[in-house]
Symmetry: C2
């Protein structure tokens, strides 16, 4: 069974962006092994806006070979786009209704895991429907005081069970959780 | 040289209280060794409101022996209260002006460390004046979506250096940081 993995970077005080959209605090060291994460997934879930911005992004010629290699790997995955309107696209499958059942079917296909890419609206829908299997939250060593919150407009608390922590040279600490109230909260 | 230690519990999404002041998510397991923390300090810094609420609190007769013992230990410390008005109190020394220099003098007395108890206003003053030596932030395995933020109204980012992490049975992860921009930010 495939798992749906949310992977987000946050500040210590729970912001994913600064008040003006700043993400310059977000560190990506080599010891964080993002390539290892990518090698464990074969599918990416996008919201429509995120897909249009990043789903077919091509790095320019000045980009480092390492980053080019990451983008090539990203674009080798199966892509699904969750959108209120149906659309045709050669590189992705659009899903516009019955999200919980369709995600459940995709998960049953087996193989590697699924990266829930975002944006915020899609993540919120997945939380509400109880569809996230793993929360990988990378806490960066900075506090901003204000900005865009990690989770907005939750209808109810997310109770979590800590699975693992990873500390990186940069001072980033990755906290990996499963949802604690999974069975009860899941309406599927 | 004494260190000023901020010790706070936060949710994964950076709230120290829920929207209605809820702290029922805050876990205190025995393996978190709060007694060990208390044994490493000999001084407590309170804001005036926190001091009036907790500075001389006596647990009632039904309280567990373990909790009674913690309160006894707390009340054995030197207490300083930071207040805009001067006041006399048999159990505490009041500081109403020149905070940075007075804290600097207390730190030079040596001995054990100082627990910066709070509340929020005092913590904010200490952050602004660059007086915190260690941030011990215990991240609880829950997200609330809204509530009272960990740090409010920061004038500038707090850049931190990760010193240590401790994981507890309950799923709480304690992240211990020193301020990164200490020398630059400190106006003393």
């Amino acid at each position: 069974m495939k798992k749906v993995i949310l992977d987000l970077a946050t500040t210590l005080d729970g912001f994913i962006e600064g008040p003006d959209g700043e993400v310059d605090w977000c560190i990506m060291d080599s010891d964080m092994d993002f390539e290892g994460f990518l090698s464990g997934i074969d599918t990416i879930f996008y919201g429509r806006v995120s897909y249009d911005a990043w789903g077919n992004f091509q790095p320019d010629t000045n980009t480092s070979p390492a980053e080019k290699s990451i983008w090539k790997e990203v674009h080798s995955k199966h892509k699904y786009v969750f959108s209120s309107r149906d659309r045709q696209d050669d590189n992705a499958t659009f899903i516009s209704s019955d999200i919980a059942n369709k995600v459940s079917e995709i998960k049953k296909q087996g193989g590697k895991d699924i990266w829930l890419y975002g944006g915020a609206g899609l993540i919120h829908t997945f939380i509400r429907l109880g569809l996230i299997d793993l929360y990988r939250i990378s806490v960066h060593p900075v506090a901003l005081g204000s900005g865009k919150p990690l989770f907005e407009n939750l209808r109810e608390r997310i109770e979590l069970r800590l699975v693992k922590t990873n500390s990186f040279r940069s001072g980033v600490v990755q906290l990996i959780y499963e949802p604690e109230n999974r069975t009860a909260a899941r309406p599927v």
